[in-house]
Point group: C2
């Protein structure tokens, strides 16, 4: 059984935890208030926090996260303008996190799926698909299987370099929803 | 009636021309062999060519394209590696084209929809959606209306800066299809 620790208790944390628990994983939560002091015991650790919180978590948990599958779900938007990302051009939050946690196996996932589509399992008439990128094939396979066990689709979208494109997709989707071009229950569906 | 000139006669050229003609536009084609010498007469000019051909077309048609709606559909991949784009990080082919054609009203569109989904009007069970970005609201509105008249959905996805994200989306979609994670008749559907 996959053991998962989710740091964060917001909409995304609960939606992701719900999917993984439905798939049979053992899921525990660490609130952001406890983060940094509470131990993370899962083999898979989902950092379900906003981008600005990643650096502090990486510093606090660097030793404990070594060897673990660490899931970055963030969309590093400049929320004051909704017109750019705050990571360097061509880079990604996930690449930064992997650099900060060299012993961890970082995967990017869940940043292209709104919480409502994880909870419902549907984007319109389509099964919600989680896109997963990372440089560790076994880590991606663990997450892909855990998501599929929870009833969603999941696709290995390539190396951690593809996190740039996943974050571009997440950014675009957020701007479309904020601009009321799509709803927060819709967005990009993946049709295989 | 919107008059459209499409430069190119490949799968994308034909699929785009089919949608716009279905919507009532007057559509003419210029083959790549004729390009540079044949006049472009449409109010909307679709450059349905691979990215490396854009610079030459911009130089050949700079004067004729002034004032026109010029549609860039390219995905500027490094096709030798399928692992990066050939435009500078953070930029886009569309931004380069607008810089090369300062008198034109450049819009990015059709780079996130495979030819088959334009021809069929469907991405799986979803109506195909064309995402349109540009800095000229009237140019975007012209294209959005022409696409909708042809039976597809179309969304104004923001300023020309968003062409970076649309090209990231197109790149990701191409890598997923080339890697057989999705089919060339599927891809990203937009659920509003």
């Amino acid at each position: 059984m996959t053991s998962v620790t989710i740091i964060g208790t917001g909409n995304m944390a609960n939606a992701i935890g719900g999917v993984l628990a439905k798939g049979g994983a053992s899921v525990g939560y660490v609130s952001r208030e406890e983060a940094g002091t509470a131990p993370v015991t899962g083999d898979v650790v989902v950092l379900a926090v906003p981008y600005p919180a990643l650096a502090g978590l990486a510093e606090a948990y660097r030793d404990q996260l070594a060897g673990k599958v660490v899931v970055d779900i963030t969309n590093p938007l400049d929320f004051s303008t909704f017109d750019s990302l705050v990571v360097p051009a061509g880079s990604s939050a996930a690449a930064e996190l992997q650099a900060a946690l060299p012993g961890a196996r970082v995967v990017k996932a869940f940043n292209t799926t709104f919480a409502a589509t994880l909870a419902s399992g549907q984007v319109g008439a389509n099964t919600t698909t989680v896109l997963v990128a990372g440089d560790h094939a076994d880590a991606k396979a663990t997450l892909v299987e855990a998501v599929k066990a929870g009833g969603l689709q999941a696709i290995d979208a390539g190396s951690l370099a593809r996190a740039h494109e996943l974050e571009a997709l997440g950014f675009l989707q957020l701007t479309l929803a904020a601009g009321e071009k799509i709803s927060w229950t819709g967005g990009f569906a993946v049709v295989s």
